[in-house]
Amino acid sequence: MHNIQDVPQPAPADNASPSSVTSVNPEFGSAEEQPLLSVAGLSKYYGDRAGCLNVSFDLYPGEIIGIVGESGSGKSTLLNCISGRLSPTYGTVTYQQQSKERCDIHAAPEHLRRMLMRTEWGYVHQNPRDGLRNNVSAGANIGERLMGVGMRHYGNIRSKASSWLERVEIMQERMDDLPRTFSGGMQQRLQIARNLVSNPRLIFMDEPTGGLDVSVQARLLDLLRELVADMGLAVVIVTHDLAVARILAHRLMVMKGGVVVESGLTDQVLDDPHHEYTQLLVSSILQV
């Protein structure tokens, strides 16, 4: 990544610093449909410093939004606040549950938040070791959510785990093996299966392809795109990799210094970046 001073500074564009993003994609957010997730005025301060500042957006069922930026841009802070893992200093995150009931994630009782996290939501960590139970088999990793919601038939749990291994292209013979005997790509696919087995509606992903070889990344991206489309999942994906964002995300938010500096449809943002920082990000990718 280039130092920002080395790059000619373009004149600021009109849409360069929106603090609020509404769905501009005609595919999503029809008049009668409620957003799955509404983020409003979200800020997180660490002392005087804002980790993220005044971020707002709506996410509709089946929609994939990418949050891009360099490390330190505030994208991870934002993801943690949206996913209920970190309390924001200001602002709200409202989620529409499967029951159609809307809940303010940070005001909701902890048990509800935790229940959503292991049923209607998923979270895919960059490092699969952070998202897997490393001391139990692949099958147990996939079966955990099912047992968590009260499934008590071993044979049924096993056949569910088996079909999920197949969906993420892991050989069924590996079902009773520990995750650490798997390659990095397999571990990541196992983590995805472990999240998707509960038929969630919303998945958070933190650099899901980071740390993988390029060829492994491509395969994982294809698989992710397929699964997400099949299941109609809404996704919030954080990545520094614009290629990943282009393949997966319908919309992008570009973050710098805790602020969303540009947002819009992925192709628009990447092909015709308005903000100087986005232009820098895009140009540095092109030079790779």
Partner: protein, 319 residues
Amino acid sequence: MTHTTIGQDSRQGQPDEALLEHGYNFAFLDEQTKRMVRRATLKAIAIPGYQVPFASREMPMPYGWGTGGIQLTASIIGQQDILKVTDQGADDTTNAVSIRSFFQRTTGVSTTENTQEATLIQTRHRIPEETLSKDHILVYQVPIPEPLRWMEPRETETRKMHAHEEYGVMHVKLYEDIAHHGHIATSFDYPVQIADRYIMSPSPIPKFDNPKMDNCPALQVFGAGREQRIYAIPPYTKVHSLDFEDHPFTVQSWEEVCSLCGSDESYLDEIILDNEGNRMFVCSDSDYCRKRLEAGHTGAMSEQQSDTPEVNSVEVANA
């Protein structure tokens, strides 16, 4: 049979004179500590299966010798109590003998090996074979009180999991057993759910004993000294051993019967007799076995030999 009374004046007992001269209180612990332990115990009884933290005291024996159980016993024992101390079913192991003599010296209460005679039973690793009544209190020594520890090392997290009843991981452990062994291989410290709410570790008793905890007329209290936890099962409480619909909970069973008393319903210990691989099975509960022998029951060994072998010597060989 008498009920345990709480908060007695130590003057009425007959503890060891020498200990009294040194300023030791009845049952060793000072009254304030006992009150603290009793408060924790009452809370534990009020919330069946919930682990209540308590300020565990140093005891004149190392952890692993049952200091949690000893503090519980010391806090609830009264002069009228008749104490039984049993260790893996036997009353004559070093651990059981030491604890029993500790309470004899510090309280002067009567002790017994007879389950029916006892009012207070401190135990390690077994529940007596004879049915307990409402006049019994059973005190368990517990090394690791947290059943979720195997899956979740963080105490802050296990507390939340209990609070929100997030117990899926307990079945993950059982799933893993079946995946690797074809059946639930956990046979000691088999996890239970108390009164349809808290998941509890029953201490390292064999799962054979789990059904005895269910709807038991006796009060059952559990003490972990090093981990500073007390928990309890009030009388007549539902105790469910976790399982799967297609892999239901089962207890250990033996092809053999007890070589001494012929019992086919007790928990058996295997004893190697010689280097030729000869072995025998005897009741782990030595009091139960002795009573059966006295009642005229016989097993293979007692029939072969003209005189009845001493049960205790067999248990010593086993220990």
